[in-house]
């Protein structure tokens, strides 16, 4: 019914995230791109596990036994925590870099370049 629209959205999000990473020059903006890319892959994993007319994989009063697949949700939880850990570390790097160079523009902090 919805055809593959969620998958298409995943692809679009991934492309936007990649574009932010590759084309933007500001470190914070790049990190925002990374977080979008992470969200895209999370959404991809969740969408993989969705079944038509299913309920959440938690037994409550809800009578139906047609449940969405639980494994992708478990994987996605792991992925979200990894994402927040990575962005915390990256932001701390950016803060330190700003203290040394006074800027977070990628083009201006390339001192290592030959």
């Amino acid at each position: 019914m919805l055809w593959n629209l969620p998958y298409i959205v995943v692809v679009l999000l991934a492309i936007i995230g990649l574009a932010t990473i590759l084309l933007k020059r500001n470190l914070i903006k790049i990190f925002l791109g990374v977080s979008i890319l992470t969200s895209a892959v999370n959404l991809f994993i969740i969408v993989l596990g969705y079944r038509e007319n299913s309920i959440a994989p938690i037994y409550t009063y809800a009578p139906s036994l047609n449940m969405a697949l639980p494994t992708p949700q478990a994987l996605c939880l792991t992925s979200i925590v990894i994402g927040v850990a990575t962005s915390a570390l990256m932001l701390s790097f950016a803060v330190i870099i700003h203290r040394y160079y006074g800027t977070v523009n990628v083009d201006e902090i390339r001192e290592l370049k030959e």
């Binding site: 991934a14 990473i21 470190l27 790049i30 990374v34 890319l37 992470t38 892959v41 991809f44 994993i45 993989l48 697949l69 494994t71 992708p72 994987l75 792991t78 992925s79 990894i82 850990a85 990575t86 570390l89 990256m90 790097f93 950016a94 330190i96 870099i97 040394y100 160079y101 902090i109 001192e111 290592l112």
Partner: protein, 524 residues
């Protein structure tokens, strides 16, 4: 009884012991420096002992399976699950065992070195915490038989490595190098997760063996393979994505650099594991083999040509690390290219792969040794600039000897271990395609030239007056270097022992996809 319990749970302890030690390290490390050093050393030694015991078990008794959370450790398939492994499992085959041996050996040497060389720095309790975390991540990566678990350990190693590379925050460059590494590995990790999603979505499984059984080589599988190879190649510093390596290797403390080599090789191991075990039979061998070969050749050539004009000793060595990674890729790639043809495989394919995998081990040893000597030099004279060195030969005799051993080994001069593995690669690659062998030899000669230059710049020449106070480095650092140097010499003098006992089982385990699947899926 207790011994039985410990032996049957060795794979769990292999990761749990360094992890527990790391969790407690920030607290224990605050008490006093001596307790911290004792704690770290004890944890590392215990881990090494566990790894050696496990490797012994694997080499004598065949692949060890450990299922987390099952009633029995080898119950890979529950009785009521209809033939699917549902839990995470460790599958320690000889290849994994080899990597574990390498990791803990280098790790032990590096810890001893680091306890002495880094003692004047600040934040050491956190530093050693991350060090232990990195070691446990590497051990987990090489042991696991589950693709998502592999991803988790990959991320641990990414974050830990980035933290270690940026350890010298008083230098802005270090932070920049760490950030660069973190960006590359994060994006690689995200695409790796995409690949996991594709494989999971098609086959509803996360275990390597069950995916290997079900895989059908659809277009989606091809995309997943491309994503996996690209991300892991970026992590191990192969050529198209090698730009992070020189910065990271140069700015990290010497001990960390030696460990970085091991971490990169764990990614390389993951690449091999995915290509051979997960995709295996369904793969188009020749194409894939040539892709790996071309990656390897490019890495070799680009690495060595970039290395020659370098002015910084660690940066130069970093480019050589890229170049040496190419040898491994070349050897294994040749093996992969002929994997479909049993005759060619027997005639030279196995030899090539033995060369490539032996080179992993040798490279970890001699490159670790070289980085440690470079660290020793920098420890005493405070700079890595080749132009500001010279005449250190008299002041640092032992370091010079160790440097010579490492340099000769990396250049492939007999009787050191570099020669042993490179020779295996040359002779087999020559049968496969002579041009490749010639390129490999030329690269080797260029490597030798480069190291002769370094040797001359550092140790020869007249003594400079600003280095008048330079003395030999402390004893633990010398001990660590000697430890690795002896291993280099031993594996160079008796390569046959190593190849027959360690490398051959590893190569056969890597190429034997059906055997892997039988062990995991048939062991109900």
């Amino acid at each position: 009884m207790i011994a039985d319990v410990i032996v049957s749970n060795l794979p769990a302890f292999l990761v749990a012991v360094p992890l527990l030690a790391a969790f407690l390290c920030p607290l224990v490390g605050r008490i006093s420096p001596n307790i911290r050093a004792a704690w770290v050393f004890a944890a590392m030694a215990l881990t090494a002992a566990i790894a050696y015991c496990l490797a012994y078990l694997v080499y004598t008794g065949g692949t060890v399976i450990y299922v987390f959370g099952a009633t029995a450790a080898d119950l890979s398939i529950p009785l009521d699950s209809g033939g699917i492994p549902i839990r995470i499992m460790f599958t320690v085959d000889p290849m994994s065992a080899l990597m574990e041996i390498i990791a803990v050996t280098v790790g032990l040497g590096v810890i001893i070195y680091s306890l002495s060389s880094d003692e004047r720095r600040s934040g050491l309790e956190n530093y050693y915490t991350i060090f232990l975390l990195l070691i446990s991540a590497v051990l987990g990566m090489v042991s696991t038989g589950d693709i998502f678990n592999f991803f988790v350990f990959l991320e641990i190693s990414s974050l830990a490595t980035a933290g270690l590379v940026a350890y010298r925050v008083e230098k802005g460059l270090a932070v920049e190098a760490g950030l660069k590494y973190l960006m590359v590995s994060t994006i690689a990790g995200i695409f790796f997760l995409f690949a996991i999603g594709i494989l999971y979505g098609q086959y509803n499984a996360l275990n390597m063996a069950i995916i290997a059984e079900r895989i059908q080589w659809t277009p989606l599988d091809k995309i997943a393979l491309v994503l996996i190879v690209a991300s892991l190649a970026a992590k191990c510093g192969s050529v198209p994505m090698h730009f992070w390596t020189p910065d990271a290797y140069m700015m990290a403390p010497a001990a960390v650099t030696a460990m970085l080599v091991v971490a990169s090789q764990a990614s390389l191991y993951g690449l091999f594991r995915f290509v051979f075990t997960v995709y295996g039979v369904s793969l188009n061998y020749v194409t894939m083999g040539w892709v790996v070969i071309i990656l390897g050749i490019l890495s070799m050539v680009v690495g060595v040509t970039m290395a020659i004009p370098q002015k910084d000793i660690k940066r130069l060595m970093a480019y050589h690390a890229v170049s040496q990674t190419g040898y491994m890729l070349l050897g294994v790639g040749v093996g992969l290219a002929v994997l479909g043809d049993q005759f060619l495989l027997n005639s030279y394919g196995y030899t090539a792969m033995e060369g490539g995998i032996f080179h992993i081990m040798n490279h970890a040893l001699y490159k670790g040794l070289l980085f440690l000597t470079a660290g020793a030099i920098i420890y005493r004279i405070g700079t890595g600039d080749l132009n500001r060195m010279g005449g250190l030969g008299h002041k640092m005799k032992f370091t010079m000897v160790f440097f010579i051993i490492g340099a000769l080994a990396i250049a492939g001069i007999p009787p050191f271990n570099g020669f042993a593995s490179k020779f295996l690669i040359y002779e087999s690659v020559y049968q496969f395609n002579p041009i490749l062998a010639v390129i490999a030899m030329v690269v080797s000669i260029l490597t030798l030239a480069s190291f002769v230059k370094v040797f001359h710049a550092v140790f020869m020449g007249p003594p400079r007056e600003e280095h008048a106070q330079v003395r030999e480095v402390p004893l633990p650092m010398l001990g660590a270097m000697a430890f690795l140097a002896i291993l280099v010499i031993v594996s160079g003098l008796f390569p046959g022992i190593f190849v027959t006992n360690l490398i051959e089982p590893a190569v056969h385990a890597l190429t034997d996809q059906a055997g892997y699947m039988t062990i995991v899926l048939g062991g109900g």
